[in-house]
Symmetry: C5
Subunit: 335 residues, 5 copies
């Protein structure tokens, strides 16, 4: 619980100071430099992508007066997405989900935001993130990001994260449609585990998006002075996006259940066909073989064997039986 002094690590701190008609990017090396920014009129965004420098976090805890459990929430990367409203700041723990290869390689990364009156501090687990768009927009002098407060900035970060969920949802949906195509057309042999991999991706998305929806719902109703009235419609907007995503995930989950059923039925149908082939062949030839066997017997006295056309009559019986059988199977729609 106590954040003891740890080994000093190369820290990665990116600080963007901004405001109407103002934008500066700093690469600070020590946390003490922040104090001067706090006193300024401008807002600033401090992005920390190094959760192992305990000393740094201890400093932040002291400067911004943060509860030690909050720091623990930020450090514990198994945390569920959640929001906590304190008197002088708001903590948002969110999850970035993205994929750098295919939908099967879903990566999850915890992203925590602490924002107060004029600062936004964000903590990311790995160095990769989904905020390049925001960095670009910050440089736009007339953009909303500069004009609005820290609450709008936090919204923008969350918006970027949720947009990524959308992208993933689309990838899963596409993949499921391809699988459906392949299964229904029966052209390519699909492995059941391929279907289940998609189910897993959906589960992972769902596990993240449900608490995110809750988080946004809490944020909407938080009534903190830090969230301005005019930012509420924007928060509501991403809230509705999460609802939309959840509904779509639910539909995709049902699609998968359906796919599995079709898959199973196809197996049954194929087995039926195999069985029919066997049955038709066996049912036709087994009796004929028996008859051939009869006339292969070596009894002394077998009158038919002496008949002149015996052999041909037997062939007639063979062919006749086969034809009758074929008709019978035809009528029962076996082929």
């Amino acid at each position: 619980m106590d954040l003891e002094t740890a080994v000093k690590l190369p820290i990665s701190l990116a600080l963007y100071s901004f405001g109407e008609g103002h934008f500066e990017k700093h690469h600070i090396t020590s946390i003490s430099q922040i104090t001067s920014f706090l006193a300024q009129d401008h807002k600033f965004w401090l992005n920390i992508s190094d959760l192992e420098n305990i000393e740094l976090l201890e400093d932040i805890k002291n400067i911004f007066d943060i509860h030690s459990l909050t720091i623990e929430d930020i450090l514990n990367t198994l945390e569920r997405p959640k929001v906590e409203v304190f008197d002088h700041f708001i903590l948002i723990v969110a999850k970035m989900l993205y994929t750098r290869k295919g939908i099967e390689d879903l990566e999850s990364e915890q992203f925590s935001i602490v924002f107060g009156k004029n600062y936004v501090i964000s903590f990311q687990e790995k160095s990769f993130d989904v905020f390049d768009g925001i960095r670009v927009r910050l440089e736009n002098p007339s953009g909303k990001l500069r004009k609005n407060g820290t609450d709008y900035f936090a919204y923008a970060l969350l918006d970027a994260i949720v947009s990524e969920y959308y992208t993933l949802l689309e990838k899963v949906t596409d993949k499921i449609e391809v699988l459906e195509e392949e299964i229904v057309s029966e052209e390519k042999r699909v492995k059941l585990s391929e279907i289940y991999n998609q189910r897993k991706s959906i589960q992972q998305l769902k596990k993240v998006i449900w608490p995110t929806r809750e988080l946004l719902s809490t944020l909407k109703k938080s009534e903190s002075f830090l969230i301005k009235r005019r930012t509420l419609p924007f928060i509501n907007d991403i809230y509705e996006q999460t609802v939309e995503i959840i509904e779509n995930l639910e539909m995709q989950r049902e699609s998968i259940t359906t796919l599995v059923e079709i898959y199973m039925t196809n197996i049954s149908l194929k087995q039926n066909e195999v069985m029919k082939t066997l049955t038709i062949i066996a049912t036709i030839f087994i009796p004929l073989t028996f008859l051939a066997g009869v006339y292969g017997m070596n009894f002394k006295f077998m009158p038919e064997l002496e008949w002149k056309f015996g052999y041909f009559i037997v062939w007639g019986i063979f062919i006749g039986t086969a034809i009758i059988m074929a008709f019978y199977f035809k009528r029962r729609k076996w082929f």
Copy 2:
């Protein structure tokens, strides 16, 4: 977020000015003409079926004092149905569902309504809609549409949309009944994917109708001055229709589950029959063939072969065994 100036497109604006004892249809070409209508005593309906003319929407935003997120809601055709009550107007985002060919070709189209004290503006995604009936009723001088306010007009539009859902529900129901008939009678070979197509249609309907129900429930309780007390029973009426449709969809969904089970059982039963045929034939003839084989052996000393009636006795055994077997299968109800 900012609605920048876009290329000017041929716009499609239809404006109907109406009131008690008054009805005029205008084809306006520029949005500035609307201002004069706003000042009039009559109500008017402006229907816009061109969501790509950004400049037009920008004008509307300014004239009617609409939040930019509202315009985004109208433009984003992936929006869920919803209602938003503002001080001076109400936004309703609904979905038209219709089919111009068969139930398999379900088309979805977003339809947004913004209505204030004396205007109704509607935005449709495509040029097709389901409001021909309303256009006819507007021309009827003693009709309710003319007498009542804009809230009643908005109700009429929603009513037309929900009626279409009913029509679709009936089509799905009919199709499912046909499939049930075919599967139970086993006359026609139904493909499993045909059943699942219906399940998909139901899913699509459900996805639209659930939020529509919510929308209407919110509208009922909105307490906006824009919705008059005497319009409430009408809104409640379509609200109850959506409940009715949802219940029916649920029943149809269960019917499909049942159909799939019957389908699967039929496959199993058919396989059982195939297996029985094989087993009966094989079980009767395999032992007989063996016996025929025995007397086809070439041992020097095989006493039976010398018997005068050996051959006929063997035939007796053949026929006897076959009859006993047949009785055995009969008793076990195999055929």
Copy 3:
């Protein structure tokens, strides 16, 4: 929406005027005759079994001051059961469910009640109803029906309807028990569709009884002056009956799921048996047939054929192999 003047049809109006120590039955021909009854001290019950006489309904609407949507609710026979409490009257829309042949021929009929201070008007879709018991009880001078108010009378009508649901529930339960008996005993071949027919009946009952339960719950809490305090326990009584029926329906639904599972398992078990029969016969005789075939070969030099007891030794091998096989199958519990 406007109830235009329609063709005059032969109307069927039955009016019962009653009160303590008073009972009269009238066959009125015109609705205007009702006005005189309204002024009387006695209560009256007007039962209308003709929903196509629009003029009549228009008259009723005017005399009793009923909203036009209420009349529509009465006319629209697809309405869900519901209650609506107005200032001077209460509307109850209920569904009679009954069967005149077997449980497979479930008939549904909408029954609406409008009751005020001293009148009960009921509208039925068809001429058949379930109220013969009420007509008899009305003639009993000391019965509760005469002594109590119109609320008690409405209760009595609903009670008769809900009792009928009970009867249907019992019929379904009996039928399911018969099916269970047949399936478990495997005596009679049951078709899967028979089981599903019962599921359908349950669905139909459920679809009606759920909103009826809601209706009664609303009625209990309505706090209308039209419902006297001492009638509440009676309403609560049928409310509890609906809860009881719903629970039983749920249990029956589960029973059906179980039945289907047993049915499926029986198919599998039967197939297993068929397969075993085939396998036993084939596994015993195929190797023997091979051996017989071997000694049926025509090689010049086959020493065994010359042996004196060759034939009998081979028979020994045949019988020995068969016995060993039989033991093997016995040990594996195949028969």
Copy 4:
């Protein structure tokens, strides 16, 4: 509804008058004798196990001032468990569940309690009950039953009933464990219907225990002066027991679902084994039989037949093929 005078039946009334330092058992013959007890200081318990003596119930109704619907609730043995709090008494309708043979013969019996300031009247459907322990404890002079009020006595009765549910739950649990043991070990052939019988017992228990839980929850919150504050922890105690039982029933229900799945899988696995046996035998011997058949042909010119070691070469082929086949099946892990 009116409780008309019925035939006089031999009544079974047991009356226990008790209090601190006082206990008497009376066999009263007429209900009028009760009036004297009512005036006494002591409390009394009147147990009636004869619900067909209508006159008796009519008397009780009058003496204790009970609503006629309450009497109906007591008489209608299909009632769900419930509690009704009146001004001067509390009605509890509960269900005794017990088994006198095995868990398959679950018996249900309605048990109603009416208790006021100094009396507890109980009505049981049959003469058997689960209250012998209470009768014994009543005779204990220092027991809590004597010291506490009628609310504690009613609690004690309910406690005895709920304890019996526990016993039943344990019996079902034991039986399911035995079935699981038998199915997993595959030693004994279990019939699917045996599993489903347990599911039925669970359903029956659940149907009774859910409303009992509700009943106890209502009782806890009733705030009637008849229920003393110090009795509440005891009521809460059995309330928690019902919650515990419900959870366990839920777990047992899941266990059964699992059992059915294992059962089904076992059938499939067994079928697989049967099929494999057939396939191995047939696949080995059918080609060999063919070869034997070839050398059984009677062509004039068949060079192999003349070879000296032809016969032995063929045997070599027979054995070689069989060994290769066996290896093939071994490698595919078929046996």
Copy 5:
């Protein structure tokens, strides 16, 4: 209900007296020694691992003024986890879950905590527990355990218990992943019962963790003076951990369902393969055997037998048919 005097058993009482700058460990032999500690300034933790010494519990009941039902709750080891807030103390009934061998040998042990202003008494069912970490931390002079109140101490105990749940969850998750690996790769033959054992572990965990979550939720909102404001975030912290565990359990449960489905499908696929092997062999050789049988017949007049190349022609037919059949099966993708 009355805790009668029982046989005296060797008691196991461990008492830790602690406070800021103070820590002592006592092995007391009689409960009367506790009274002196109660009067002290320091807090103390009394851990009792002997629930069969009734006399001891009776003493505790009297000294700490505890309700007899509370003692029953502690003694009844089938109790669900719960919290009860009394005026002068709080009772927490929790369950330790741990495994000393493998995840299949899950052990459950009831652990009850009673804490007041300056004492924490804990009751454990067996002598094993999960609190070694706490005992070590108590000895740390500057640790939070010593500085904070009894509420923080109770939190620490619960925290240790919930951490153990996490460990178990991880073990189950690992085991399921191993099973999934084995099933998908089809390398090792997995028994269905192994999968179901994991489902059982999940059920057991779920049964304990759900009420624990409730318990913590109640504790958070208890508003007892015994729980200080600064302890609330810590309680909330383990509350969120339980939510996290529940979600993960839910995901694992779904994984198991998926595993069972894959398992079933694998059985079906294997059966399909077996059937195909049989069908291919039988379909090729049965007709050939028939043909061989034909030329094994002993008819006097069979012209083909006299042909010089008859035998070779027949071999040609044999090989030709086999090749055609093989092509046919190849085209149908049977191998």
